[in-house]
Symmetry: C2
Subunit: 219 residues, 2 copies
Amino acid sequence: MYQQAQEENSAEKPRRRSRIREAHEQKILEAAEQVFAHKGFNGATIEEIAEQSDLSKQNMLYYFASKEVLYQAVLRKIFHLWLDSLNLLGQQGEDPATMLSNYIRGKLEISRTMPNGSKVFANEIINGAPHIKQYLKENLQPALEADVKLVKEWIAQGKMDDIDPYHLFFVIWASTQTYADFSSQIQLALDKPSLDSDDFTRAGDFLTHTLLKGIGLSS
Amino acid sequence: MYQQAQEENSAEKPRRRSRIREAHEQKILEAAEQVFAHKGFNGATIEEIAEQSDLSKQNMLYYFASKEVLYQAVLRKIFHLWLDSLNLLGQQGEDPATMLSNYIRGKLEISRTMPNGSKVFANEIINGAPHIKQYLKENLQPALEADVKLVKEWIAQGKMDDIDPYHLFFVIWASTQTYADFSSQIQLALDKPSLDSDDFTRAGDFLTHTLLKGIGLSS
DNA sequence: GTCTATAAGGGGATAGAC
DNA sequence: GTCTATCCCCTTATAGAC
């Protein structure tokens, strides 16, 4: 799981972050996630984030020294959650259909419970990942390659159709994240003020049915 | 097809936009599309757009009175292209598999040829569509409903599986647009400096195979 | 249509008292 | 840790000459 990068307290010195710092940082991160999600990096103002954290702008800057630092913290938090879910394929002993099904529903669950984080991440990627490109490169590729290798084995064993594994994952990512990132469009299309858990259930049912059957894996 | 909204020259008065205005507006729109795609609305500066149009900032403002006006022009251009492609289902006389296949490949072609426009639109939707919500509401729903109705007829006629038509379209939109919007992530995953037309062919092959088969339509 | 000059305001960040 | 005050750059937009 993700660990705060600042946790460098070594050995005897119990230099733990105070309870108040812990609480404030948490509040700030949540507020920042929301504001960045709705305004983008440049559209967000540290003033608005501070307001939503019940802190003054200057006091907020005491905890996160700059807008850039705060943004990086938000980005990395969601990215690690996302990377963890990529490893669902690491589950041993399950059959391919169950593993992929869990994978799809796991990604959908992130979209449902962390829509703002997902939006911040999506915004960053769309703009060419200027703040996180290197970090992404180092962490995404290895995790994806492991999954791709597994799918290739399934194909070699005749367990599923001979499809391109990379595009399978691209499509799973896109079609699960769309329920977070493009929720405003989906709400308009469905004429609903917000997406509820039934909508996500329907999405999960459709996706698992269609994708598993589509690649020859339906049980 | 999309028409410039300013085309209000009526009857005898040949009040046509001068050739130079036409050319400059075109250059500006292209530059704006690119800059908005990479920086978002707030991150983009009219100065940068002007530079890429080989015009001074002030001169650019002579053609588009404000950043907001320019942004709206870019948004509407791509949105209408997008809406047109939604009507591919209006093709008569084709069987369902061919119609959906054309639809998917048409959307992919927009991603390939207009990636910047797609990104601007995606950015706007992610941020909650603040600049285009009303316009989207009035135009998206009717077009989508027509397509959904058609799919429901196919289901009633037993031509395909009984899936939720709305989610079918959400997934097609997401998985075709991802090759434009999230291209930087896909490039990292594939370890390529850019996506070429072979990548789009593979994406199209994967998508048509998987989605058509997945909903019980493969011929 | 294009240029120079400039108004006007927003917003990130720092200094230093308490 | 929190506050008041403030600096200063960046950016949009307008005024007006040519």
